[in-house]
Symmetry: C2
Subunit: 322 residues, 2 copies
């Protein structure tokens, strides 16, 4: 009897990974194979205006650390998204730091001196002050959401509720929850949100976090979500955990400096990262979501028959990698 | 306008953390305050026979890295649990390594040479070969599960199903899912499972993994779960991500050596870690689960009205810390 190093192999979320020889030949395609076979027409380029490039100070052995974030499209959180572009264009983020890494929860970055009025970095003019009702948007797409999947348009996952919402689904490439009136983005792994103080403060966008653990869905509708990490999350998720309360670094020397955050459209054309996501309204996404919910690759014995909204990550890839 | 470093503060899973001044005084107690107020009678000591101490090679600057794992009680996975005790007692784990770290998925450890028959470490005698039907157990407690929470015994969370199971709940301190016939433990953050090759292989316990991302519930009923990390998960979750397929380390020099894995009851009495968990059948757990599902601490505006089974982590603490 012998265990094998490929144990758990095809069970993995292998989207960005080569399909192993073992999982191919004559078997039902797994989620990653379905995505790899999508026609070019189902991939949607992300506008450079909607991509942020965050450059951390180099890591051990001078290794570059770059994180790419996709900002959220209308109708969600646009006031904060605009603030973030304003802050990036003012160079305000340059020199701030990652100050908090709480295991199974969030990595957070901002001005390490925000609490000290004398040393806090002054914010640029023109930031909007958002109200808490902007944490959700009108559920204008409700009619489409409720269409059964066989009639096209939406993924098989659509319409299923969970402990947090009456319905969950995907809108314009993003996981959302909704009821008959409102719709809102949800806190899945890698989503980026706006840190804030106690309500009625809603945060400006100067302090941001990303989820590095099980989806903290209790934050939905309580904080603004503004985007998601599409590349380089490992530079954040593998940082040493903070040992202070709430995972803040106890010693400021542990903070991880952020060199800059730039809107990709502000970079010289040759330096802009180019990404695309798989349309969540297409045929392929419906089949991908179904395969995530019913794993038929040879590793599996019992398909789940369903999937949590956060276990159907929307495929995003660098253009030129297809 | 100024952001504050405590942003997101009380939103945190703050179980092991001091309650901040802001969240106290006159407000409804949060989940961590409810747990802190539990009577001693609701805490259950974990038998030393059910604790594993895994010692990794020291980290940067010679820092000790110890991970404590609680093994699962009957009726779940006991064949594998026995194998793990056998392997630990044979010293078989000493010198193996962490070979795989896949972001938002698992950290896995085993014999780096398992694939190479000439170099693979021979397994000790006496290991049981388990069948896949042991991934689940008879749902003998179903009658209790179905009691409404007001009649005592079980948490308010009990009876709610999700995308993966007809019902979810807690049995003897562990998150489970069940239907009218079978019950099984679920893949939450920090759960420990048994790596295996393609079915009908079920794994021996020589190759283990822990979850470091969003709960991969599609693995439920497809792999044996044998325990959970109760201390030191940050030594695994913050390891550099592997850059090979499925997050395996490309270069064996990146493997993280495991010095030893011991059953706590085999350690000298003074060296045994002592842990206890909050009974999931008590009053306090019911109130804690309800508070996790309906956050009323001052940070929150909209309580979720529910919680995912994996967002109600069972409180576990070192004895002597109370």
């Amino acid at each position: 009897m012998k265990t094998t190093a490929i144990a758990l192999g095809v069970a993995a979320l292998a989207l960005a990974l080569p399909v192993t020889a073992q999982s191919g030949a004559g078997t039902t395609p797994g989620p990653s194979e379905i995505v790899a076979a999508a026609p070019a027409s189902e991939w949607i380029a992300i506008a450079p205006e909607d991509l942020l490039v965050m450059t951390l100070a180099p890591g051990a052995e001078g290794k570059a650390r770059e994180v790419v974030i996709q900002l959220m499209p209308p109708p969600f959180s646009q006031g904060w998204v605009e603030n973030i572009r304003t802050l990036a264009r003012a160079g305000w983020y340059d020199g701030i730091a990652v100050t908090r890494v709480q295991d199974n929860y969030v990595v957070q970055w901002g001005d390490p001196h925000a609490e000290d009025e004398a040393r806090a970095k002054p914010l640029p003019d023109g930031l909007r002050v958002m109200r808490a009702d902007a944490y959700t948007a009108n559920a204008t797409t409700i009619a489409i959401h409720e269409m059964p999947p066989s009639e096209g348009k939406r993924s098989v996952h659509h319409g299923r509720g969970d402990a947090y919402a009456e319905f969950t689904g995907f809108t314009r490439g993003w996981p959302t929850a909704y009821d008959h009136e409102r719709e809102w983005p949800v806190h899945c792994y890698g989503m980026v949100g706006v840190g804030r103080s106690y309500s009625p403060d809603t945060g400006s966008g100067a302090e941001l976090y990303t989820v590095i653990g099980h989806a903290p869905r209790h934050l939905d509708r309580n904080i603004a979500l503004v985007g998601r990490v599409v590349e380089g999350i490992e530079h954040l998720s593998s940082l040493p955990r903070g040992t202070g309360p709430l995972g803040f670094y106890k010693d400021p020397a542990q903070n991880v400096p952020i060199r800059s955050i730039r809107v990709a459209s502000d970079l010289p054309e040759g330096e802009r990262p180019r990404f695309e996501y798989l349309s969540t309204e297409g045929e392929t996404f419906a089949r991908y979501a179904d395969a995530r919910a019913n794993r038929r690759d040879p590793f599996f014995i019992v398909p789940a028959g369903g999937a949590d909204i956060c276990n159907i990550p929307v495929p995003v890839r660098r253009m030129g990698d297809e």
